[in-house]
Symmetry: C7
Subunit: 105 residues, 7 copies
């Protein structure tokens, strides 16, 4: 976990091909409205893109634009990424090529 | 397993050279019609392609089209890929180059 | 072993630089005609090419044709390749560069 | 830890794509002003860039400028980098691509 | 050991940058003519080239000719290569770049 | 340790992108002039460049000049490099990209 | 150790970027002329170049000339290389980029 004293996550501007996302939290209650203890709530692999880097350089020295943009919902891999803590919230930074899919829903 | 709260698998748009497939299930009964307990049903390595990414970039910065398209039947490797769960169904995401063969039958 | 419900191996069209082969079986009898139990029959590293892929892409984005074609006899390495089962028959899928030699006999 | 007898950290000119940073120290007291023993102060992953290298060479033989400049605040990874000691102060040298994000706050 | 039912080693045409060689056998007798048991005969790292492949492709898509030709004597590395058995004889297949030196004697 | 019978370290001309350096020795006494036993003297990661190679070749076949020159003071990594002994003195050979920073003091 | 029946080491022509060297032997006596048992003689990392290959191919398909030539004295790394025995003498084959420095003395 990369700890910070940043006050606002909007201050983070990912470098190269990095993508800053926040994992979407599962509803901590059942369909019928009963609240579940946090430990039984499954961790979801969906996330919202908050900010993207300008892209890494290819072998011709040109930037390769990342595949997603701020606001996109994405499917993230079950492992990997660097967790970042800003205030009480947790975020994750992935390389663009680690993201699995966009979610168009 | 990448857990999600997506309602419709059609919402998933694979990124780069990724291919979203669903494994074809073996019939859980014998040729003579006797039903088999699920644990004795062999897992098949055939899958149906549901969606493909736009292709990864080659060293010239051009997209390399993936080898298959939605609707194709493909032979998948016995190991690998990232499993994804949407509702009660399981899907798998492969990189294009991990698929073994198209099945033209 | 990649299990399938494919009925005809001709339905398999290898992708990229893959080559579908079937191993040649050793005669289960001695030169003087005595049949040997299967466990004593040495596994041969000769195979017949059944189908080849269209070739992988080189760094210029062009397909590199594979080195063999359907009908060729080839020397395969003692290890490697992905086994595939179609009906009761076993086949193997190699990458083109894993094949050792053509057999012109 | 790379020990030195350098008197002034300004004497250090990173080579190629290296970036010299100094980690920002967490306040060793609580919000209400109570001082904490050093061992309970969380190590922050924020750093200030002190100097950057001229960039590594790409495959065309051209320098690739690094992504940050002296004075930038950056998010650094929880692991990695080469620690350097100048006088009583500790610094860290990263490769440019290891830095996670710029902090614009 | 790659076992075969090939009758003539001349049927083997190496693929890409592969080179088919046969190891030169050490004389199983001392200088004064006393025969040695086979287990005490040192294995030599000299071999005769029997056939060469057409060369692998470089990144421009052109064949790179192999460094040796049929008939050459070569110094082979103490480890590596794929052994092949044709009839009662053993051969070895190397990649061109694994061969150490030509022997011009 | 690469042992030699070279009499003068100036005879050593590094090859490709190699850089020959000599580590700067820490003063074996305290600020107030008390001499310390050698085992308590911290090993410094500063070195003086004695000679540099002509540079390695890039993929276009051109030499890439090394980043430092004879006479430079450099920050070396805490691990790595090949130690070389000439007479009673010890030297180290690094690849150019292993050096961390120039010291302009 | 690559054993051979070659009579003359001059028959060895290294392939690609290989360099054939012979290690220089340390004098088995002290400065004052006392002979030392062989086990106490330090192994030197100096060698004489006997023959060089024509160079490996770069990505443009051109030969990259090796950095040394026959007759050069070189500093060799403490580990690596392939030992070769010709008659009673031992030699070593290195890749060009493994050699550390030329010795101009």
């Amino acid at each position: 976990m990369a700890a910070t004293i940043i006050r606002n996550v909007k201050a983070l501007a990912p470098l190269l091909d990095r993508v800053l996302v926040q994992r979407i939290k599962a509803e901590p209650k059942t369909a019928s409205g009963i609240f579940l203890p946090e430990s039984t709530v499954e961790k979801l692999n969906e996330a919202k893109v908050l900010a993207v880097g300008p892209g890494a350089f290819d072998q011709q020295g040109k930037r390769v634009a990342v595949s997603v943009q701020a606001g996109d919902r994405v499917l993230i891999p079950p492992f990997g990424g660097t967790p970042v803590k800003v205030g009480e919230e947790e975020y994750t930074i992935f390389r663009d090529h680690e993201l699995l899919a966009k979610i168009n829903e």
